[in-house]
Amino acid sequence: MHRTLIFTMLLGLSGYASSHQFTPTYPEWESSYSPGIVQTTMLLFNSREEISYYEIKVFDEEWNSLPFAGAGIANVMYVPYLDRKFIPIYLREKDVGLARYICSRSKILAGGVQASQVSSRICSKLK
């Protein structure tokens, strides 16, 4: 009886919880179809029901933003609930030595109803 109750409670909790995943932890650049441009592919999984948009950014060691392409308009991607999206990141070859982090951040829509919301950001490191 107790086991059933605990399992049911866990099942309820897991249904409520919502998460954000961004992999790989240590991406690597590879050559792209275009000369002077390198690329890597990130995988984003969204199981946050209240979030549908994620901002992708590339940073240097000092957390200055670097220009890149591949992550949609204004670097904001639409990732529906429970969807998994492969995101290509294209960077200039001359910026490879500078780039240190690729990050995804959940974007919260204005006018949300919760008083205190959580914005999640996961950063992978380029070695």
């Binding site: 949300g112 919760q114 205190s116 919301q117 950001r121 950063c123």
Partner: protein
Amino acid sequence: MFNKTLLALSAAMIVIPASAENVPISGNVESKCVITTETNGVYGNPTPSKLSTLPADGGVVPIIRFDVVSANYYKAVIATPNDFSASPSLNDVVAWTGTTSVGEVSDALMSAYDTDKVVYNNYSEFDLTIAGSTWFKAESTAVYGYDKSFPSGNYNAVVEAECIAL
């Protein structure tokens, strides 16, 4: 006789591919960090000049879970709010305070995260040195002016939870 043989052969041709079929399941384990919002916070309003997520003040503390598959690959950085993301027009200063602490842990050794954390401004940093799940509580309080009443309306603030590869 010929018909029977033909039927038997046809049946065998249909059956053989099905019986020989293998269904592979593959997977790999890689280091990763998963940020899970367990509980969104709610501000209580115990006095006209105060908004607080503390249960004693009628609020709900936001709880964020960090899952790491491998130890020593990530650090968690949690920032409590220092501004409202949405509020009525405010014409006086808001004094913010916030604390991030370890709530529940999947490994008893993780309780050391609280003593080893680095705190600066409204940020708290935790090195995730043990594989497993850690639940962090991010408490937030806002006090308006000097005993001034918050104007009526909706107030929203954002807790930032970051997982950064080391």
